[in-house]
């Protein structure tokens, strides 16, 4: 817990948001990728990825007042387990016998909403970072 703790907290949030942004970009880029992975010799469409975040803090809840404020941390990137969308398109080379193509479970509108949320959160954290920095600079001016 140094004097730059508040800056580290905001910094951790900036990292997490940038990672979220990257994941959203990946999802949007692969919204139509029917050949995502090779599983057992079969092509499986791209699965939407999500980011799992937790608050970075010491896990001792015994003394609330000593809980460290340490920002946010990305735990892992998980895949969305929701089912693929089946789209009827017999002319597609990837369609199965009934003429359905399994498309990735990426909903573009939802991704755009996530994008805006991540951007807004990023900007809020930049503001918090600047506020913390201005306070430190001001502390140095005491007595100047």
């Amino acid at each position: 817990m140094s004097i730059f703790q508040s800056l580290s907290i905001s910094g951790s949030a900036l990292t997490a948001n940038r990672l979220k942004l990257d994941v959203v970009s990946s999802n949007l880029a692969n919204a139509n990728t029917t050949r995502g992975q090779l599983v057992n010799g079969e092509w499986v469409p791209y699965r939407r990825k999500m980011v799992e975040v937790t608050a970075n803090q010491s896990t001792s809840f015994t003394n609330l007042l000593q809980r460290e404020l340490s920002g946010v941390q990305v735990n892992k990137i998980v895949e969305d387990k929701s089912p693929f969308q089946a789209v009827y398109d017999p002319s597609n080379p990837d369609s199965n016998e009934q003429g359905y193509v399994m498309m990735p479970n990426v909903d573009v509108t939802k991704e755009m909403v996530d994008l805006m949320a991540a951007t807004r959160s990023y900007e809020a954290n930049v503001t918090a970072f600047n506020a913390g920095k201005s306070m430190l600079v001001k502390a140095l001016e005491i007595g100047r």
Binding site: Q5, S6, I9, S10, S12, A13, A16, V53, T54, A55, L64, L65, R67, L69, S70, G71, V72, A117, R120, S121, A124, N125, T127, A128, F129, A131, G132, S134, M135, K138, A139, E141, I142, G143, R144
Partner: protein
């Protein structure tokens, strides 16, 4: 008179501590605006200060042995508390707009405290230097 000035400096230092802690708490809340099941934290200091230090009325003592009214030596320390509200489906309890307004308010509070403290020191320095 020296003790009063010393108390002033002590109170303002403690307020700066509170403001600094509040900045960390707000930063943490903003950082965790999307974390599921996160409960926001806040810092309480002003109410405690208002109870402890009654600035307006100080009893006049004709004899140093009489009991002092209205002055106290205790300066409260800032406390970190946890809120209980829930604002999102994910169990997250952070209201981003509230935190942002608190952020700018706190920044200005810190800067004014630093300014006030600086002036306090300047007064002392002027008093020492004046012939």
């Amino acid at each position: 008179m020296g003790e009063k000035m010393n108390q002033m400096i002590g109170i303002m230092s403690r307020a700066l501590d509170a403001s600094s802690l509040r900045q960390k708490s707000i930063s943490n809340n903003i950082a965790n605006v999307n974390t599921p099941n996160f409960k926001s934290t806040k810092v309480s200091f002003e109410e405690m200060l208002q109870k402890e230090v009654k600035s307006q009325f100080i009893g006049h003592r004709s004899n140093a042995k009489h009991v002092l009214i209205g002055e106290t030596d205790q300066i409260p320390s800032p406390k970190l508390e946890q809120g209980n509200a829930v604002f999102q489906n994910s169990g997250n309890g952070v209201d981003l707009d509230y935190e942002m307004t608190k952020l700018s308010e706190n920044t200005i509070w810190y800067q004014s405290l630093a300014y006030g403290l600086n002036e306090e020191f300047n007064l002392l320095k002027t008093a020492i230097r004046a012939r």
